[in-house]
Symmetry: C2
């Protein structure tokens, strides 16, 4: 007689593009039952699943347990983890896309860019555990269901608004079994502000300069000085929201960026490819936090105002 098996952990990835497919593949590799909601590439993914090409993790392919057009089609009860890898852009109602699959015990895992992106979700699902996660990974979609992993992969997370639950640890253990590191933090909002120190400044500048890469942004003393001044504004806002950053961090970020390979930010790539940019998550929320806290942030406000003009011009309405 067969021994009783522990039921596998069930994860549903909502918004399964490059990031969602990547972490889905890792969870699958660690034995989870992974399903996906993917609208754009539904047919290809249902037919062939995902193929992940990675020098560091090896090439992997996996077929999701369920490939769905909508979270409402998910079968077999609510998932243990609802992994949300949607872009945070205007006009995309994350709550509506998630709601049909959120059960009473579902942990909601937000792997998304930006600051202060969790409150809306926590308010919509007040009884659910919310994990807020920061992906440090370079992946891109190379075709339908095809993902190329270039570098990194770590997922840094903790519960929102703070703490690290047992179920967060279990998720970390799974992902680490899948091949990456998951540093846990009981202050995930502070971690988001730390990442925002870079993102809030480099992303908008890269777009406004005409899809510049990091080397072009830092090419002159004036450019580097402007980056640092704008970062000081992010620092002041983070501190006012109760998440002070180490004062040396800004210069360390600039230095590391200068020494690293030149690359284009996610926002510059979205801009070049005519895709919606995560303007609100990446800088709008930061500027609003500044206003709320009464912190002057004229450089960030300038970047935001200009970006809204670019967005209005370049995107179809």
């Amino acid at each position: 007689m067969k021994e009783a098996e522990q039921a596998p952990i069930r994860a549903l990835v909502v918004g399964a593009g490059a990031i969602g497919g990547f972490y889905g593949a890792l969870l699958h590799g660690a034995g989870a039952e992974v399903s996906v909601v993917c609208r754009g590439e539904f047919d290809a993914v249902r037919e062939r699943g995902y193929e992940l090409a990675s020098d560091r993790l090896g090439n992997r392919s996996f077929r999701p347990a369920q490939v769905l057009r909508s979270a409402g089609d998910y079968q077999g009860g609510a998932p243990d983890y609802l992994i949300v890898t949607l872009k945070v852009v205007e006009g995309l109602d994350r709550v509506a896309l998630m709601r049909p699959a959120v059960g009473p015990h579902t942990v909601i895992v937000l792997i998304e860019n930006g600051v202060e992106i969790e409150a809306e979700i926590a308010a919509a699902f007040p009884d659910n555990e919310v994990i807020s996660a920061l992906a440090f990974v370079q992946v891109s979609r190379t075709g339908p269901g095809r993902i190329r992993h270039f570098a990194f992969g770590d997922l840094n997370f903790g519960n929102y608004p703070s703490g690290v639950s047992e179920r967060a640890r279990r998720l970390a253990a799974l992902l680490e079994a899948g091949g990456i590191r998951c540093p846990l933090t009981d202050k995930v909002a502070a971690a988001r502000w730390q990442k925002a120190l870079w993102n809030t400044v480099f992303n908008p500048i890269s777009v406004l300069g005409g899809a510049l890469d990091t080397a072009q942004i830092l090419a002159t003393a004036e450019g580097s000085a402007f980056v640092l001044e704008a970062m000081r504004e992010v620092e002041a806002i983070a501190a006012a929201t109760g998440h002070p950053l180490a004062p040396e961090l800004a210069e360390q970020f600039i230095d590391a960026t200068r020494k690293g390979p030149a690359y284009k930010t996610s926002m510059a790539l979205d801009y070049e490819n005519g895709r919606p940019m995560e303007t609100e998550a990446i800088i709008g929320n930061v500027v609003r936090a500044a206003q709320r806290e009464g912190v002057p942030a004229p450089r960030l406000a300038s970047l935001y105002a200009l970006l809204k003009m670019v967005e209005r011009k370049s995107l179809p309405r």
Copy 2:
């Protein structure tokens, strides 16, 4: 026996593009002997002269007395007026281009954009009278030696650093005989700051937003608010340099711009056409004045830093 004729006033236009050709045609129409230094369109202008198409002033054509590749080729003694309509851009040595034709009695007339663009010229020619002039005109080049005049035409000027000389009045009389109005001012630097209130803000924004027109810049409440905030910085700098502006001017400018037809700034047109932009004259000098006077101008500094990045990326080196 023929009566003694007064010798005509001799004017040499250096940098005879649309603006230079336009004012040259007016001076010619008023009886001045007008010569031009034009390098790009030398052959066409030597052969056929200028044709000015204007609904308001009528179509006019004129053949310059001398068409030159260099001011050093000017014959017959130094001109009475050296009309400088060069763009103020890095790498263009205005002094060197003017010097060969500047005689001891030559009045130098700068019809150029920007603020604080006269000091370099006054320092190079300390014994010459310098007139600083602001053109309120919409003209464009439609072909070699062909200029279309769309609207306005007034030339507002006075002596640099201040005052209105007899020779300034004589020039105004000539140009007014040619068909436009020339309001004279004994505070031309203040007039430049007044014009800068609009130029310093709308020009850079139009480029950074992706070659926006004025309507696109002012399309949202946030965009208009940003324009106003940036204008307040120009105001503070102008006041610190001793040229306070009327506080209602900024809102009047925005209002007039909103009510007028949508159009693209000169800087946006330069940007779209891959031509050098007048970044330093239009905003660099304003930001430097702010630094010199200790006036905070973070929005203008942001615009300037971004513009320098755009410039570096978009222009060949």
